[in-house]
């Protein structure tokens, strides 16, 4: 059976994997496999912005994905961006295979505040559900509490819940229920 592969990009704290596996187990009936870490490609680094271009990292994830991968979720501690936007919490191929989430701006330390694991776990769960949702073809949801609602700053991430709304949840379930759902 195809699986969801979790890939550390660069150095990532161990604690996050259990959080991600728990979230995935609740929503996606897929076996989860942890993969060895990948080094961040040099081409991804943008020296002017001191950030990493997510598109380059996603290319690497796609190239190195195992053949039986249903989905590949990269997790990184570095700050991500695309040329047009100043930062990203994460990015995904819409209705595709690859997604990436950055821990950088989910951590309280980024905002000059003391670290809080409980908050980091919540935020990471929300962003994992969000980016994974995109890989299952979901677009941003107008329901503010839904994990699929758009977050353009950390406050909006905190407003969301660690769940899909009923409409988005049904869509995910339907994808798994259909025999040829691309899962």
């Amino acid at each position: 059976m195809s699986a969801l592969f979790l890939v550390p990009i660069g150095s990532v704290p161990d604690k996050v994997w259990e959080w991600i596996e728990n979230a995935a187990a609740e929503w996606f009936p897929l076996p989860v496999r942890r993969m060895p870490a990948l080094s961040i490609p040099d081409s991804a680094y943008d020296g002017k912005r001191n950030q990493y271009q997510s598109v380059e990292i996603m290319k690497l994830l796609a190239q190195t994905a195992p053949q039986d991968a249903s989905r590949v979720l990269g997790v990184t501690s570095v700050d991500l961006s695309i040329p047009m936007l100043s930062f990203l919490f994460g990015q995904a191929q819409l209705d595709g295979t690859v997604a990436i989430v950055s821990l950088c701006r989910l951590q309280q330390e980024f905002y000059g505040l003391p670290a809080r694991d409980d908050l980091l776990r919540e935020r990471l769960t929300k962003e994992v559900l969000h980016e994974m949702g995109h890989t299952f073809g979901l677009i941003h949801c107008s329901e503010q509490k839904c994990a699929m609602s758009l977050s353009t700053h950390i406050g909006m991430v905190d407003t969301k819940s660690e769940q899909y709304c009923s409409r988005c949840g049904v869509q995910i379930a339907e994808r798994f229920a259909s025999l040829d759902g691309g899962v």
Binding site: Q53, I82, P83, M84, L85, S86, Q91, I139, T152, H153
Partner: protein, 450 residues
């Protein structure tokens, strides 16, 4: 809804195009990308993009501003957002002058871009709703909404079509309730002024002073209570049509003022010293015989000829009885749906009652009568008894004599008979039961011009 607003991203850097497109697609938009100006214009020819993000600097070929101008040539309604780096902000401001809706400096905050897109699309949605409403409004006043199979009315409708796009003044004559305003709207909404204002002024409803400030506006301090400048109906109707209802009731001073505006197309606000120039088509209406008012010296002859460039005389409903069933059916359908009542027709016996009535209040009276009948109707069909009050009211009305001298009563009877017989003295005298020479004597005595 988002899918109906396609977006185009134009940038020579693939990674820029694709990452931006991917981000917008996550938001549910249909996004196309182009790597140069030519390709963007080709794509724009085939798709009605709501927003085009165009990079200002694209080496070789068309730059961002040229691309924007070409896109606007093929898609004038597309909103172009110029993407620029800090170094080229001045050029981006130049692009705004050339027609760009906004510019963004990359990299920009995700919130900024998200709000920008949603603001532009909200505006587009409003614009498109506005266009739909305008179309609906236009359709509402098109000729096919004036219900008739009367040959004279059909001629009038053909005439309104012919004169719709002219600027000539129109004078609509007809009894109260014959649909003078509806015809005026049909003229306005069928012509080139349809998307401009149609402003109605009821001249009989206001005193001379009020009507003057209502028509021409006023300056601050022009009179007690004039706390600021106010535009009059002439200014509000600029580019469109001003409908002056009950024009026969305006004072001699206002007649003179109106004549001057009609001649010069300019006027002063009350208390003002600055001339205001307007492009307004005048449609006037009256239930009086203005020619007769001129004869009696109550209406300026020169103004009458200015207004009477195209004259439309609307027949009374009793002169187009064949329209009563059509109109009644139309009102039943419309009013029952507006009131949420399940009334779907009129019985033949009820129609007979409606056909026999003289309708002194014309179509408006018919509309009111149908509404009252629908409100009290106990089953799904309007029957004779739903109009029983009309028959008794009608008979009372026939015997109701106004408190005027006998001579005045006779004068009114003669005028009415002449109106009904279209000025034919032989027929009018027969209808009045007197011989022709007697009628001529009376016409002379009462100074009735026919």
């Amino acid at each position: 809804m988002k899918k109906s607003w396609p977006i185009l991203v134009v940038d020579d850097e693939d990674v820029m195009c694709e990452s931006m497109a991917a981000w917008l697609r996550e938001d549910g938009y249909r996004v196309d990308t182009a790597s140069n100006g030519q390709q963007a214009v080709e794509l724009a020819k085939g798709a009605d993009y709501a927003i085009c993000f165009v990079d200002l600097k694209m080496p070789g070929g068309m730059d961002g501003i040229e691309t924007m101008m070409e896109i606007h040539r093929v898609r004038p309604d597309a909103s172009v957002i110029i993407i620029t780096a800090y170094a080229t902000v001045d050029t981006a401001i130049q692009a705004m002058k050339e027609g760009a809706q906004e510019y963004i400096v990359k990299p920009c905050n995700p919130q900024e871009i998200s709000m920008l897109v949603s603001r532009i699309l909200k505006l587009k949605k409003l614009q498109s709703e506005n266009a739909i409403l305008r179309k609906k409004l236009t359709r509402q006043y098109r000729h096919h909404d004036i219900i008739t199979k009367n040959p004279r009315m059909e001629e009038i409708l053909a005439l309104t079509q012919e004169i719709a796009s002219l600027r000539s003044t129109v004078l609509i004559r007809g009894e109260s309730g014959t649909g003078k305003e509806l015809v005026a709207r049909a003229v306005h909404y069928s012509g080139s002024r349809a998307d401009k204002p149609f402003i109605v002024v009821s001249c009989a409803a206001l005193t001379e002073t009020l009507l003057e400030s209502e028509l021409f506006g006023y300056e601050k301090g022009a009179f007690t209570g004039a706390n600021g400048q106010s535009k009059g109906k002439f200014e509000l109707a600029n580019g469109g049509t001003l409908f002056l209802d009950e024009i026969g009731d305006i004072s001699p001073k206002l007649q003179a003022d109106l004549l001057r505006v009609l001649q010069e197309r300019r006027f002063y606000r009350v208390g003002g010293t600055e001339e205001v120039q307007v492009d307004v088509r005048i449609i006037a209406a009256t239930n009086k015989n203005l020619a007769q008012e001129v004869q009696h010296g109550r209406f300026r002859e020169d103004l009458f000829y200015r207004l009477n460039v195209i004259e439309i005389r609307l027949p009374a409903l009793r002169e187009r009885r064949e329209d009563v069933p059509l109109l009644a059916e139309h009102f039943v359908n419309r009013i029952s749906s507006e009131l949420g009542r399940d009334v779907h027709g009129i019985s033949p016996a009820a129609l007979k009652v409606l056909m026999a009535h003289d309708w002194p209040g014309n179509v408006r009276e018919l509309e009111n009568v149908i509404e009252r009948a629908i409100v009290t109707c106990r089953n799904g069909m309007l029957d004779e008894q739903d109009f029983s009050w009309l028959q008794s009211a009608g008979s009372q009305q026939a015997w109701e004599i106004p408190e005027v001298p006998l001579g005045e009563l006779e004068r009114r009877a003669i005028v009415a008979a002449l109106e009904r017989k279209h000025g034919n003295v032989k027929e009018a005298s027969a209808a009045l039961g007197i011989d022709r020479s007697t009628l001529y004597d009376k016409l002379k005595r009462y100074e009735i011009v026919h």
